[in-house]
């Protein structure tokens, strides 16, 4: 048994023969058992995740199939959640998430690349931008809504400036309080999130590849077309999946900005949860949640597949 604990806990105990304190003996445990023992180190983490994340999620998913008052099994919640205003909510949510993931994705990648390759003063620039990204990625809700109401509402500061130079946003059909407006606001936390999650992938682009390509006569464009682009693409797409999920699940900002007038799934769930619906419809909120979780599940499968593909070249 002492041997087992040694195997699990002591760092360096698996070093080259004679390197550790304990001379290495041939392992006594059969291979599958050793693998199980090694996995034991993940027990606290797994237990926490299961208790804090998976059990609550499963409870919601089960509730989606139960009658709110009697608890009997039913499909009526699912039926209600996929028709009428709720269906419209899904359409809006997906459309919003698509805009609010692709645009910030591209722009976030450009910013990340700009600061990553900067040399003169690059370190200070990186530190400022990356730390700012860490803070802005967690910014949202009422304060964020206020920032944009103060700048882009119909009589606000920036709208006024643009009017003075002859660009009348509101005459062109722009408003802060519809899908496009919410997307503009979402970019405020989506772009920083993209910068944070794409940077590790940029680390993996080796300068040697670029140098090799240039030695072979490649210009910037052909380097990106044939080397950099294909290598980075899976990482970029997997980051887009995360941005999509993040936009899909955002609640406080849209609620603060539009006061709930815009039909988005998280807002509809919030309305149900706050008890502002007909009695007996409480579990429709869970059915709506189930829909979101299914979409996110698909996203995460794509994410894992893309990450695996990305790992071929990066790291």
């Amino acid at each position: 048994m002492a041997d087992t604990t040694e195997l699990v806990t002591a760092p360096g105990s698996q070093a080259d023969p004679g390197a550790g304190r304990v001379p290495r003996r041939p392992a006594r445990l059969p291979k599958p058992l050793r693998a199980v023992v090694r996995l034991a180190g993940l027990v606290p983490f797994t237990a926490y995740i299961v208790l804090g994340l998976f059990i609550p999620l499963i409870a919601v998913l089960i509730g989606a199939f139960q009658n709110s008052s009697t608890g009997a099994w039913t499909f009526s919640n699912i039926d209600a959640a996929t028709h009428g205003a709720y269906l419209k909510g899904y359409e809006n949510s997906l459309e919003l998430s698509l805009i609010a993931s692709i645009l910030p994705g591209i722009f976030g990648l450009l910013i990340a690349y700009a600061i990553f390759t900067a040399k003169r003063g690059g370190k200070v620039l990186r530190q400022m931008v990356i730390t700012a990204a860490g803070v802005f990625a967690n910014f949202g809700g009422v304060p964020l809504a206020f920032l944009f109401i103060a700048s882009l509402a119909s009589t606000a500061l920036v709208t006024g400036w643009l009017n003075n130079i002859g660009v009348n946003l509101y005459a062109h059909g722009f408003t802060l309080f519809d899908l496009a407006g919410v997307a503009v606001v979402y970019m405020y936390f989506q772009i920083p999130l993209m910068v944070l999650i794409i940077l590790p992938a940029l680390e993996g682009l080796r300068p040697a590849w670029r140098e090799a390509a240039e030695n072979l006569g490649a210009r910037s464009w052909s380097y990106w077309r044939h080397v950099g682009g294909p290598v980075l693409m899976p990482s970029f797409l997997s980051c887009l999946m995360l941005l999509f999920g993040s936009a899909l699940s955002a609640y406080a900002t849209a609620e603060a900005l539009t006061g709930g007038t815009i039909a988005l799934v998280p807002i509809q769930i919030g309305t149900v949860l706050n008890g502002n619906v007909v009695a007996g419809e409480a579990n429709v909120g869970k059915a709506l949640s189930l829909g979101l979780v299914v979409i996110i599940g698909v996203l995460m499968i794509l994410y894992v597949m893309l990450q695996r593909r990305a790992a071929k070249w990066l790291q």
């Binding site: 999620l57 802005f136 999130l193 769930i269």
Partner: protein, 293 residues
């Protein structure tokens, strides 16, 4: 074990390869220039991120900033948030630091799996999670900061795991732990006196990210009926919007300054010890050392 060796070796080779020519992707021939496209991108970003802040400050008025601190419940809500942040921090560190180190040393094949699991809280709607949490956990815990702290650990995981992982990637963990073992240290000594001091910067980054989360999270706190700082901001907003906005801008700037301070101090130390530049989730080789020495 062979896999760890490969990781470490590749990292080392990459660092060496990167040192003379600067960061990845930048061609030697262009070193020293600050191309126009970079200015354009950063200028657009600067406008997009700073203009709304400026507009909000002008709208709220400078006076509002002074009166934030004397508001009723400002202190108590901030104190609640600080307590929750402390609790979240303690659990996150106790849970994630050993787990991440363990995975790096013993289960390198599980790194990708852990990465996928810890990313989940970013994409799972907090509102859905709250519905489940309120349903599953005992009534006594509802509307308490204990439950909130417990769940914030989950929300903090994507940031905490990535920060710690970046720290571990920047050091040669295997060599360090083996050297320490050879010198007769047990695993506890190795963790406490060898690995943790080397993780300083990334642990501090994780700390600030956790604080930023706890000072910014609204959905779960409000549905859980705990008056945290963000909830107070929204309540105050209904009475005096200017003050609530000033409070949130102050929180934003103060958190950013802390984070910047930590990363700056960390990179000074990194230059001394020759470690890479650790920036939240990413590690870059310290390119400046060669040029300066």
């Amino acid at each position: 074990m062979a896999a760890i060796g490969t990781y470490a070796r590749q990292g080392w080779i990459r660092r060496v390869m990167r040192t003379p020519s600067g960061n990845a992707g930048a061609a030697v021939s262009r070193s020293g220039k600050f191309p126009v496209w970079r200015w354009v991108i950063l200028l657009i970003a600067g406008i997009y991120f700073l203009l709304p802040l400026y507009a909000a400050i002008r709208f709220a008025g400078i006076k509002a900033f002074g009166s934030v601190f004397t508001q009723p419940d400002f202190g108590s809500s901030l104190w609640t948030s600080v307590q929750i942040a402390a609790m979240t921090w303690a659990i996150t560190m106790a849970l994630m630091v050993p787990t991440t180190i363990y995975v790096h040393l013993r289960l390198p094949g599980m790194r990708r799996f852990l990465e996928s699991i810890t990313i989940l809280p970013i994409v799972i709607p907090p509102i859905v999670l709250t519905v489940g949490v309120l349903q599953v956990f005992p009534v006594q815990l509802k509307a308490t900061m204990w439950l909130l702290g417990f769940e914030y650990v989950i929300l903090a995981m994507p940031f905490a795991y990535r920060a710690i992982d970046a720290g571990l990637r920047s050091i040669d963990l295997k060599t360090l732990t083996e050297a320490s073992g050879n010198l007769g240290a047990g695993w506890l000594t190795t963790m406490w006196r060898v690995v943790l001091p080397n993780l300083g910067t990334s642990l501090l980054s994780a700390t600030v990210l956790i604080v930023a989360l706890c000072l910014g999270e609204f959905t779960m706190a409000s549905l859980n009926l705990v008056t945290t700082f963000p909830v107070w901001i929204v309540q105050t907003d209904q009475l005096n919007a200017n003050i609530s906005v000033s409070a949130s801008i102050i929180a934003l700037v103060v958190t950013w300054l802390f984070l910047l301070l930590i990363v700056t101090i960390g990179s000074r130390r990194g230059r001394r010890t020759g470690a890479g530049e650790v920036n939240l989730f990413s590690v870059t080789a310290n390119t400046n050392t060669i040029g300066e020495s």
